[in-house]
Symmetry: C2
Amino acid sequence: MTTTPKPGWAQTDLAGTVSRETGVPVEFDTDVNGAVLGEQRWGAARGLDTFVYVTVGTGIGGGGMAAGRLLHGLVHPEMGHMLLPRDPEADPYEGHCPFHGDCLEGLASGPAIEKRWGRPASELPPDHPAWTLEAEYLALAAVNLTLVLSPQRIILGGGVMAQAQLFPEIRRRVKERLSGYVRSAAILHEIDAYVVPPALAGRAGVLGALALAELAPGGRRDFVSQ
Amino acid sequence: MTTTPKPGWAQTDLAGTVSRETGVPVEFDTDVNGAVLGEQRWGAARGLDTFVYVTVGTGIGGGGMAAGRLLHGLVHPEMGHMLLPRDPEADPYEGHCPFHGDCLEGLASGPAIEKRWGRPASELPPDHPAWTLEAEYLALAAVNLTLVLSPQRIILGGGVMAQAQLFPEIRRRVKERLSGYVRSAAILHEIDAYVVPPALAGRAGVLGALALAELAPGGRRDFVSQ
């Protein structure tokens, strides 16, 4: 572990300690990458090698795979902080991200919804205008993810996505915004299978850790039953 | 080849024909991916496994690698059509992309600059306000690429980038917009090596094709001298 806002954990050799104490190989990755691995192995991304997983809750995080490998690169993706068009007339709320103001997380996370409308997101009825705006921002994010990564699927999870009415709205807007530019049947004709909820829900963390364990040096692909 | 706006080329079996006539293995990819391969093998991305290459000219195109593999996914990336924040007071020009209006290409390609200012980009002096605006849009795009892909480097090429004064402006804005959120020395301390021009310039196409040929089934890594 390097830097972290969690008190007492900075510079902790977590993987080394666990490995020494238990005598088993240890791999270490972000929680989102765990969910990415779990969804690919047992969930909504089975059979795919390029996809993204975005979790929309207290914050917005994202991870994914390209050509079968986890996205890492320089550090790791921070898709939740993507910059998007915002029309101040339609949405005067300036966003709450302490780093970027009106980035995706600043506009569309659970706390952003609560601050904009003065009530917790979970208390807003399904026909509240909050959800139209939320679908718009998540659609813009999905459009940019499509254009940058060309994923075979976009998985949207997290507490906010428990509002299932968001999915058809997001799908419709993704298609509309792309305007036929990405000429793939997945978008033009099968958008319902392109923007989807996760399949593992609350089990993604544990199952993702199992999938990660298989990738560890000395890890075995056969230690969990299919 | 599948669909293409070029008359007479749709559904042409180009790779098959060349392969049959010449008797050598053939690989087929986009011109941007050729440049990506060339820059990684001999140019500005040597030693990197995750980076992007964006070309800013008549249109804006982009490609890249993640964990050493070309980005393909569903079809291929169309980074040039990314959606970005636009402040209509600072820039009332509505963009010229026939598909998305004010996407990156609609706002920042060569023709967009010409339409906005009434003169070809190449005729605008280096201190023209056009370049401040151009740097802003390209910085926003670089920020989103950083957040989505976490590349180790962003290469900006194409005719518009011949305006070398753009680079320091883009770098400054990328750093400012990220606000220290991506805690990597590459961005915090070495931004000059993070956003860079290509090294191969006009030779990227041919050298990229050579790099691609090495990857073809039966291709050889030693047929071009290092």
